[in-house]
């Protein structure tokens, strides 16, 4: 990679911000949040983040959109069936791998 900013500086910034978010309430705050909106917002944020990161990002996570689509389909089916995190991930990889083998045949 060709960067003006060194890698260690990125890593340092990531670590410091992540730590500060965790540390501040533990050290300074001792109060409960009563605002329903703020509580709801904080509850929803992780799912919103995961959703936005997964789609459309997942389509560029393998070497073709087709194999990624097969992987996504497998992940949706396996997770809908209530399978574990690990099972879903392996199913997605296997489907993507197989699709990458099959698609060039057409």
């Amino acid at each position: 990679m060709n960067h003006a900013i060194p890698l260690w500086l990125y890593v340092l910034v990531m670590a410091c911000v992540t730590y500060a978010v965790r540390m501040t309430p533990l050290v300074l705050f001792r109060k409960k949040i009563h605002s329903v909106f703020v509580r709801s917002f904080l509850y929803y944020v992780p799912y919103a983040v995961l959703g936005a990161m997964t789609i459309p990002g997942i389509f560029y996570s393998t070497d073709s959109v087709y194999s990624a689509a097969a992987g996504l389909a497998a992940a949706l089916v396996a997770s809908f069936a209530g399978r574990s995190l690990l099972f879903v991930a392996v199913a997605a990889c296997a489907a993507a791998y197989l699709a990458a083998l099959i698609v060039p045949l057409f």
């Binding site: 003006a4 944020v45 959703g51």
Partner: protein
């Protein structure tokens, strides 16, 4: 508040299953980081210093795209903001053994799973228990990344390309069970996905980087869901 009866060993015991889960999730992160051009050692260092899945994936993507430090800092803030809520809750759960220096150390290990397990204990928890609870998951998280990173560099391209999807598969697996039960989460995720597709594919928004896109999607969709389906006290 008095002193908790849970020992360091109790913490280790409760941390074991979390560590095993982390080993596999972080393996996926390692593979994905290496595929974006981050070395396996740097990937492991990121895992050791951050201990958070979504934040790290977003961070690595920003590094790979040579984003600015401001962008990466803002992304970490928004993506990890949930830990703020967890730490507030945890601060009321810690007993008197948790002095300021110990709180500073405990803060490092507040993850979704560690928070969930410590919250589920009856009564207050102490610093020794928290140390035990945090230790193994952090080791599992770092070692998993290391193994995934090395595997990503050694495995043939056809295999490592397919493994790149692993971490996204896990994201789907995290969202699905909650979205099935909770209409608010389903709504929030649908709005977020729709927005992120719009930001990605409409040429007008092509100047918005992936990192900022996640921030915008997260804030708008979480705010929308909070207004339409506010969460009642007990659920959050």
């Amino acid at each position: 508040m008095d002193i908790s009866r849970f020992s360091f060993r109790d913490g280790l015991k409760d941390g074991m299953p979390i560590a095993l889960g982390y080993l596999s999730v972080s393996f996926g992160f390692g593979v994905s980081a290496v595929s974006m051009g981050i070395g396996w050692l740097a990937a492991a260092l990121i895992s050791l210093t951050n201990v958070t899945s979504a934040g790290q994936v977003a961070g690595v993507a920003i590094i790979a795209a040579a984003g600015s430090l401001g962008e990466i800092a803002l992304s970490m803030l928004v993506i990890n903001i949930r830990y703020f809520l967890m730490s507030i809750s945890l601060s009321q759960k810690l007993d008197d053994s948790c002095t300021l220096p110990r709180r500073l150390l405990i803060a490092y290990g507040v993850t979704d799973e560690i928070f969930a397990v410590s919250s589920s204990k009856e009564g207050p928890v102490g610093s020794r228990y928290m140390a035990g609870l945090i230790l193994l998951p952090v080791i599992g998280w770092t070692i998993g990344t290391l193994l995934g990173g090395i595997a990503g560099e050694l495995l043939p391209y056809s295999v490592s390309a397919a493994l790149g999807i692993a971490i996204y598969g896990m994201f789907v697996a995290i969202i699905m069970p909650v979205a099935r039960k909770d209409k608010g989460v389903l709504l929030c995720v649908c709005v977020s996905v729709l927005l992120s597709c719009l930001l990605k594919y409409i040429p007008l928004f092509s100047g918005i980087s992936a990192g900022f896109s996640v921030i915008i999607c997260a804030i708008v969709s979480a705010a929308a869901a909070s207004v339409i389906k506010p969460v009642k006290e007990a659920e959050a």
